[in-house]
């Protein structure tokens, strides 16, 4: 039996960003989506459960507010997580966490984790798709005082130990670590499955619990760092050739590139 907590980020939906005329991203009106690699974290948890038994809990925090605008979106995403095969979802909602940093997120998540009891394994995605700090796994391990191994591309369980392959820039490192431990997984570790209709129906009866910071008995000052997000202006010519004779298009393109001075005639 391996009891697993998956750490899921409710990310900004990168395909539906609301951008103001001055280039500022309006995070309050942008919809949420599950962060890409967190799907791999959930899939890996399900595979471990299928093999070794145990329970999978999802823990999350709503870090894009305001809560009243985002709550139904967050619940929709966490229902989808439950439909994938996670047994329970627990998440923190508090306007203090709106646009907070990984410092506050990790403190809030660690409090929630402690409240929920003991886990053998914590699985996160390698980084969030919106902010990409990649700090949460190491921070959670530090707060809980347990080992961490990041960028894992293969998990094996042998007794109480995890045997893990890490994807490093220059190669693959194999490490062994006893549970409990925190790991983060890469996008290549598995191919996340889609839920069946039956699972979607079942997810409606699974526990989906909300907590405020007060419920968790913690007080956070999330105003240490103010973050403002702007869209980088993309100044590209966007000259697109479609249809017609490929010989002619190729010649036009070559002429363009010579004119740009990037290829020499």
């Amino acid at each position: 039996m391996v009891n697993i907590a998956t750490l899921v980020k409710l990310s900004l939906n990168l395909n539906l960003l609301k951008i103001e005329s001055d280039g500022r991203v309006n995070t309050a009106d942008t919809q949420l989506a599950i962060s890409e690699y967190d799907k791999n974290a959930i899939e890996e948890a399900i595979r471990i459960k299928e093999k070794h038994g145990g329970k999978i809990v999802c823990v999350s925090a709503l870090t894009w507010g305001p809560v009243n605008k985002k709550i139904s979106d967050a619940e929709r995403i966490l229902r989808e997580v439950l439909a994938l095969g996670v047994d329970e979802a627990h998440f923190i909602i508090d306007d203090v966490l709106d646009n907070c940093t990984p410092l506050e997120t990790s403190l809030a998540l660690a409090s929630l984790i402690r409240k929920l009891g003991n886990f053998d394994l914590f699985i996160a995605g390698e980084s969030s798709m919106d902010i990409s700090n990649s700090q949460i796994p190491a921070r959670i391990a530090s707060i809980l005082d347990i080992p961490f191994v990041t960028y894992v591309r293969k998990v094996e369980i042998s007794g109480n130990n995890l045997i893990l392959q890490r994807e490093m820039p220059n190669g693959i490192e194999t490490v062994e670590v006893p549970m409990p431990a925190v790991i983060s997984v890469t996008g290549e570790i598995n191919q996340p499955r889609l839920p069946t209709l039956r699972q979607i129906l079942q997810s409606k009866n699974k526990p989906l619990m909300k907590y405020t910071l007060k419920d968790l008995g913690i007080n956070l000052n999330a105003k240490l760092m103010k973050q403002r997000i702007e869209i980088r202006p993309v100044v590209r010519k966007n000259i697109i050739y479609e249809g017609g004779n490929l010989e002619e298009i190729a010649q036009k393109l070559v002429d363009n590139l010579i004119q740009e001075g990037v290829i020499k005639a």
Binding site: S132, Q135, R139, P169, L253
Partner: protein, 310 residues
């Protein structure tokens, strides 16, 4: 004002990448401490007031536990580190112990009198986050490699060996080095990027031929290296691997996932070739061709050859 800086890098070959920022942050009389693995490189040794070396490879957790002690003993204001996978983890672990906020991969820093303004890439490279902090705030920051100038401070460094190494429950079971291409795509003027539009490993030849006539090199999107293993990891272009700034980038059969696009944004001219006219990559392209790469690449390569001969 005195602000002591701790610069850490597991790999001593990149530690100097963070010294420029450390020197800005330290104020008038702060000290710069260095912690890394043993090196004999004098350019490293002379950049710190004090440098502490480990003789052997340490597990990230062991580095972190050493830094936790060091941080407290030396009244550190800022923890600075070159952004690598392990360095970022280690600094995050230490930051959590002292409730420090941390800015990962800060691409710029601006001194704004009472505050500092950091910026970093977000939203898969499409956005920039500006973070303003009071100068009195203790914090950690990691900085990308090859973005800030490399400087020499010519200090008389006090060199110490790290002798007390913390225990860890993690054991390393071996390391399998991935074969390298030998090409340095970060310095190439022309890069031809290969994406999932290529149906087999053998077809990469089509892109290689194009790169060759342009005196360029090939690179690839994440799946080509990480999923299929068709090309070595050092040719993988994207936010979690290589960021390139060539004069000409030609994306072939690449859809334009944020992960990839963020690695090519600073290219001077971007050309996209894709048979799907709705592919995101076209939004980022100066010139685009909606066509089957198998038909178009040989013609394009031949046309370039013909024009070069003229």
């Amino acid at each position: 004002m005195k602000r002591n800086i701790l610069v850490f890098s597991e790999d001593p070959r990149v530690i100097n990448e963070a010294v420029y920022i450390a020197n800005i942050l330290k104020g008038n009389e702060g000290k710069i401490f260095g912690v890394s693995k043993l090196t004999e490189d004098n350019d490293v040794l002379s950049n710190f007031d004090e440098i502490h070396f480990a003789k052997e490879n340490l597990i990230p957790e062991q580095w972190a536990k050493f830094l936790i002690k060091f941080y407290k003993e030396n009244e550190i204001q800022y923890l600075v580190s070159p952004h690598t996978v392990n360095n970022n983890d280690i600094i995050a672990y230490v930051s959590a112990k002292y409730n420090l906020p941390m800015i990962s991969n800060a691409t710029s820093i601006k001194d704004n009198d009472a505050t500092l303004i950091f910026s970093r890439q977000v939203l898969g490279g499409r956005g920039i986050s500006y973070i303003e902090v009071e100068k009195s705030l203790k914090l950690s920051v990691t900085v990308p490699i090859k973005v800030y100038p490399r400087i020499k401070l010519d200090k008389q460094s006090l060199i110490k060996e790290i002798t007390e190494i913390e225990k860890t429950k993690i054991t390393s079971k071996g390391f399998e080095e991935i074969k390298k291409s030998g090409f340095n795509i970060e310095n190439a003027d022309v890069v031809v990027g290969i994406g999932r539009g290529f149906k087999s490993k053998e077809d990469i030849k089509l892109a290689q031929d194009l790169a060759e006539v342009l005196n360029g090199v090939i690179g690839c999107s994440r799946p080509i290296a990480a999923d299929y293993g068709w090309l070595p990891n050092d040719l993988w272009i994207g936010i979690s691997s290589k960021i390139i700034r060539p004069k000409l980038y030609i994306a072939v059969g690449i859809s334009g996932a944020p992960q990839h696009v963020s690695g090519i944004m600073d290219s001077k001219i971007i050309v996209a070739i894709n048979k799907d006219k709705n592919a995101t990559i076209f939004k980022y392209a100066d010139y685009g061709v909606v066509a089957d790469l198998y038909q178009f690449l040989p013609i394009f390569t031949r046309k370039i050859k013909e024009n070069l001969k003229k």
